[in-house]
Symmetry: C2
């Protein structure tokens, strides 16, 4: 016997509404390919190099000619071929951005904010994901040698010594973010994760909690936050009641699982927990609700990052917040200044952290 596969009804076509854009006749199909600098030059009655200068260093070109040239550029929609430009000048218009996890709204916001600064100035952002993997990070940095972007931006700092060296040797601006190390590769817009941990400890102590636990990674930024947290907890004369490590990229589900495990193991010894990021913290809140624990009565939760959810769930999540949009903007601005000018004056910027008190503590 043969099974007849179940008949599915055909999909409904999405009747997408087409919209007419601004009419751009341009009359002929000759306009098809992007015009070359030579054509612009001919139409403006100058030499190609003058067009190039009018676009790159306008003040070297006579006012009158410049206007004529720009008019032609506008009319023809000329855009210089970035490959030819990069090849001849060694100056690419590509800025490579690497995030550890594309799907994190925090990183995405920072990258987006940097893009908002760089793109109007003729740079294009190329985004790659390192997935918290040294191997992936290394291979992406390798590929930069060939790509020769104008600059590189990381939402994080580079830990591998070999990669730091490779980046220095690229001899282009390198921007690190999201931490405040002693010796950045080049430029830095970051905050002190260690201080964030300290703030969390201070806050919990100040609110009267004494049996405190930690959930987070034990490497990278998680480790830094834990360090500061531990230090301050010790200074305050408390013991860390428990520590629970999660692996690499962590989400809400990990936070739930981690708190569950923590409570099963250390249950009543705990009255507050510091989660190294907000997703973990949200997960912890959900698990607490699941167990019908009073928050913050029976268990207080504090996060790190001020994600989208923090203000929306109930109770609101107390968290340590960095202005991530500002990190992206500043990084973009500093890169832009360096790319278009003389050696920049500032290469390091510290972003202050804020503690945002909500209902969960």
């Amino acid at each position: 016997m043969t099974d007849t596969p179940p008949r599915r009804r055909p999909p409904t076509i999405d009747e997408v509404v087409r919209v007419d854009g601004p009419v751009r006749d341009e009359s002929a199909a000759e306009q098809r390919r992007s015009p070359r600098i030579e054509e612009v030059a001919r139409l403006a009655g100058v030499s190609p190099i003058t067009v190039s200068r009018a676009l790159r260093r306008p003040n070297l070109v006579a006012e009158e000619k410049r206007r004529r040239i720009l008019a032609v550029v506008e009319a023809t929609g000329y855009a210089s071929n970035p490959h030819a430009r990069a090849l001849r000048s060694g100056q690419s218009t590509i800025v490579a951005a690497f995030v550890s996890n594309i799907m994190s709204p925090q990183f995405a916001l920072a990258v987006q904010s940097a893009a908002a600064i760089l793109e109007p100035n003729g740079f294009q952002l190329m985004v790659g994901q390192t997935s918290y993997s040294y191997a992936k990070e290394t291979s992406m940095i390798q590929s930069l040698r060939a790509l020769r972007p104008a600059a590189v931006l990381f939402t994080g700092v580079i830990e591998l010594e070999s990669n730091r060296r490779a980046l220095r040797e690229l001899d282009i601006p390198v921007m690190e973010t999201w931490a405040y190390p002693r010796d950045p590769i080049d430029m830095l817009v970051g905050f002190s994760n260690t201080d964030g941990g300290r703030m969390a400890a201070d806050h919990l102590h100040g609110r009267g909690y004494r049996r405190i636990a930690y959930i987070g990674r034990r490497s990278g930024r998680g480790a830094l936050r834990l360090d500061g947290f531990r230090q301050r907890v010790a200074e305050l004369g408390l013991d860390l009641a428990a520590e629970l490590t999660v692996e690499s990229v962590s989400g809400i589900a990990d936070g739930r699982g981690a708190l569950a495990q923590l409570l099963d193991q250390a249950g009543s010894r705990i009255d507050a927990v510091f989660c190294a990021n907000d997703l973990l913290a949200v997960g912890a809140l959900l698990e607490a609700r699941h167990r019908r624990l009073q928050v913050p009565g029976e268990l207080a939760v504090i996060g790190f990052g001020d994600g989208d959810m923090a203000s929306e769930i109930a109770p609101g999540l107390t968290t340590i917040s960095a202005d991530v949009g500002r990190i992206g903007r500043l990084a973009g601005e500093m890169l832009l200044a360096r790319l278009s000018g003389p050696p920049a004056d500032r290469t390091t910027e510290l972003i202050e952290l804020d503690l945002i008190q909500r209902g969960s503590t």
Copy 2:
């Protein structure tokens, strides 16, 4: 009188732990810049063009020579200069990807899945954000004329007729996704938003709800979902109790606000609401909880997209789900096939939608 600014204590330095990578001596600093094809040719005892062929079309080169060349390439870490290549051959290794909103985990996952296919094959993804703005979309598509990427990928379909034309004229593979229009520009991996709306209506009706409302955009994909929803609601002999439109990029807060407004206006006339995306639906759930409404007893909520949160909140969110990772993978594979081979056989792929029943209905 002058204010003395409050003294802040200096930031704690993040004591990042540096890690030594694999030792790669390469003995000298001469290896610094990426070697050129000519050097590889010299070391292998062949001409530059033969090296080029050995890399691009290996079967045109004699076995023996090819091996020698590849060994040298390996040893020197040679990688061809993508700008020179793009300039001469018109073949870029860049694939341009445009998302309407970088911060959406759904889009990010799709892009990431496509990247996972394309990157190991030597292509690099360049991500841009159109912000649901025709103007931005148009200007990005303009800039493609100069960049000449190998292909373009959209997490969405292009509505503006002028942009569709511009993309066709680029004469490179164009991949649209996330909808199932009658006439894609070129390639398509999509699902029927209209069918999704129908499924939502069917489900709510089947569960016994009769006073049904809609929250979402009234343009783009939201409109398609609403269309199908409305059609099916009518076929089932029901009336749509209320429709509430939100603007452009919408988040959890918009969902809360929308449901609040809906309940204030139409309150008891409503027993179920279909939200055009999961963020809105999560917002609606939170607002319902805030008002101490029984879900699903007093109000049922169904979403679209199966985001991260859907399964984590309580009650779980019933939602229409498309396998977004699969969309990205398929899009990547189809593009790759087209880029490295003869005219592809399949240029359109339909992704089935699933209804995931959880506690909210």
